[in-house]
Symmetry: C2
Subunit: 336 residues, 2 copies
DNA sequence: TTGAAAGCGTTACCAC
DNA sequence: GTGGTAACGCTTTCAA
């Protein structure tokens, strides 16, 4: 490996041909004598030629890089999603530049600007900002876009996710079928997010689904806990036991379910005998904990793969890219 | 936002000045009349000028991007590390391109090649390949490098991590001080990794530390479980109980500790009364599980920050960059 | 089948 | 202070 990178020009000089010819050989672009080509290729290899990607991108106006604006890596759900996007991208010869918005709108705007300037070939975004703040900016970029998780762009930006609302409705049904008469809903922290005026589309959908499920199965008014509250959790269990009312806790995401389960275990409340628990996302950690928490398997890898492929379709100028709703299934566990 | 991007040339024409002058204004490079500058800046803003990053990089020979070759995002430890690298990079005006090697040596080489071609300003690598395979290639890149987690480069590539070996030695001491007489060690999966001939430096260091600790405190021969084995775990606990020998399990990383704890809880073996457990890394999940597992807090954020700063120092041509050993502490929990 | 030259958008340097 | 122009390394087009 030489310190000074070898250029097409260097190869051209060494071979006594023009740069154009070297290019033809390197990118096997026909219109070149087989003999010359072989010779050039051999020399290039000897000189350990490595194309300068920057220059190539500048000339071609294409970067083979996609930008991903994720939220953070604290939630295993996001990690798996990002892992699968990266894997799929790489499979198709693309690379991923990752910026984490950390649920901060300013940070998200910076990231968008960064990717615009970088001329990435496409952008996958987990929106944090809301409709009115973000849509025009994103569409103004005039590059292929896909939104994941939170929706945005009033139908103009292809979106992919599971149908959280339907899932939650069906989760309620699932629980009703198992004989539950009272269902609590947990989405700790949601109000704080709402106050920060960030996009909570996905969480709201989940909540709506719960509300609708209750109504469909005539389970009365919603019981929602929006902040972690150990006392309250214990009260719920106690109440269920006293009134002999079969009760379960439906959680907006798995980490809530894990925490809830732990609180009950610590206080010797039996799950699922005394109270049922159900999570959402089916993160891998659930396999390490017993009782195995029932959850919703969102086919995260499929979401990631499809997200990239929807982007790729746009990059390749395919028409008719529409939203994608990914399949799901309930995972049987031991907490319902 | 126009579809056709505005170039310096366009501004120059509109302002009736040369490209050089526009550049002086844009990058406030002195030697320009305040008046002209203001006018140019105003026009640039009006035209919504966005510099073309590719062109800029090509001209300057600097990308303001660092490459990170991570292993995967399955382990929260890696996630936090990567999060903190990204945050620190951004704080200093750098961006992160992330490739995951997935513990695959071929994949790692592809990533290295990618970053070389991309002319990133520096590379942070979590090595998967071993010394002999990787060192020359990396040094041949002739770009700033930092290795994290697994060590590599015989002292020629700055490395950062906690001192796993010392920590494990002290973990043994910690346990001895708490009255434990027998200490088992768990590093499930290690043999399979060894067979694949991938770099297991960090895991080996931990194991060494355990061995040394045993010797220092005269605890007899090592007892190691290299694959998950529920039966065996139960035997260990049973044995400890029967022989009234205060026993603990030292785990190579937290996920093993979590799984072990669950096995015991499921089988009604009391932790820490019947057997003690200690993890390593102190991932956030531990806060959601009770009893709170004792672990080693490795100051992951500090590792990430320093990793970037060590790279930055090299980018800025500072001399004397040496390895960095990050501080740690034992987190008190309820499992010892 | 090949060469020559004009881009791609910036930056940097040398004249004036 | 400012203009002009040659880099940066590659691709692409037109002529020969």
């Amino acid at each position: 490996m030489s310190i000074i990178a070898v250029r097409i020009k260097d190869i051209a000089i060494k071979c006594g041909v023009s740069e154009g010819t070297v290019d033809r050989a390197l990118n096997n672009r026909g219109g070149i004598k087989e003999e010359t080509k072989k010779m050039i290729l051999k020399t290039a290899k000897e000189m350990n030629y490595q194309p300068n990607h920057l220059a190539r991108c500048l000339a071609k106006g294409k970067t083979n890089t996609i930008g991903v604006i994720g939220i953070n890596l604290k939630n295993t759900f996001f990690c798996m999603l990002i892992e699968s996007i990266e894997a799929e991208a790489r499979k198709h010869g693309y690379f991923m530049e990752l910026i984490l918005s950390k649920n901060d709108k300013k940070s998200e705007l910076e990231a968008i600007n960064h990717f615009a300037v970088r001329k990435v070939d496409g952008l996958i975004i987990f929106p944090v900002g809301r409709e009115e703040d973000l849509t025009d900016i994103l569409l103004g970029l005039d590059i292929p876009l896909v939104s994941v998780y939170n929706r945005i762009g009033c139908g103009k930006i292809p979106h992919i996710d599971v149908d959280c609302r339907k899932i939650m409705r069906n989760a309620v049904k699932h629980m009703v079928n198992k004989g539950y008469e009272s269902i609590w809903y947990m989405d700790w922290g949601i109000e704080r997010q709402r106050e920060k005026k960030i996009n909570i589309f996905s969480m709201e959908q989940r909540r709506c689904g719960y509300d609708e499920g209750l109504e469909m199965y005539d389970l009365g008014e919603p019981h929602v806990m929006t902040e972690y509250d150990e006392e309250k959790l214990l009260d719920i269990a106690k109440d269920a036991k006293e009134k002999h009312k079969k009760t379960a806790i439906l959680c907006a995401y798995d980490n809530i379910a894990i925490k809830t389960l732990e609180i009950y275990r610590k206080n010797e409340i039996k799950v699922p005998e005394d109270i049922g628990i159900m999570g959402f996302d089916n993160i891998e950690m659930l396999d390490r904990i017993s009782p195995r928490i029932c959850s919703v398997d969102c086919k995260i890898r499929t979401i990631g793969q499809n997200a990239f492929n929807m982007l790729l379709a746009q990059i390749n100028n395919e028409e008719n890219i529409h939203d994608c709703v990914v399949d799901y299934s309930f995972t049987e566990g031991e907490t319902l």
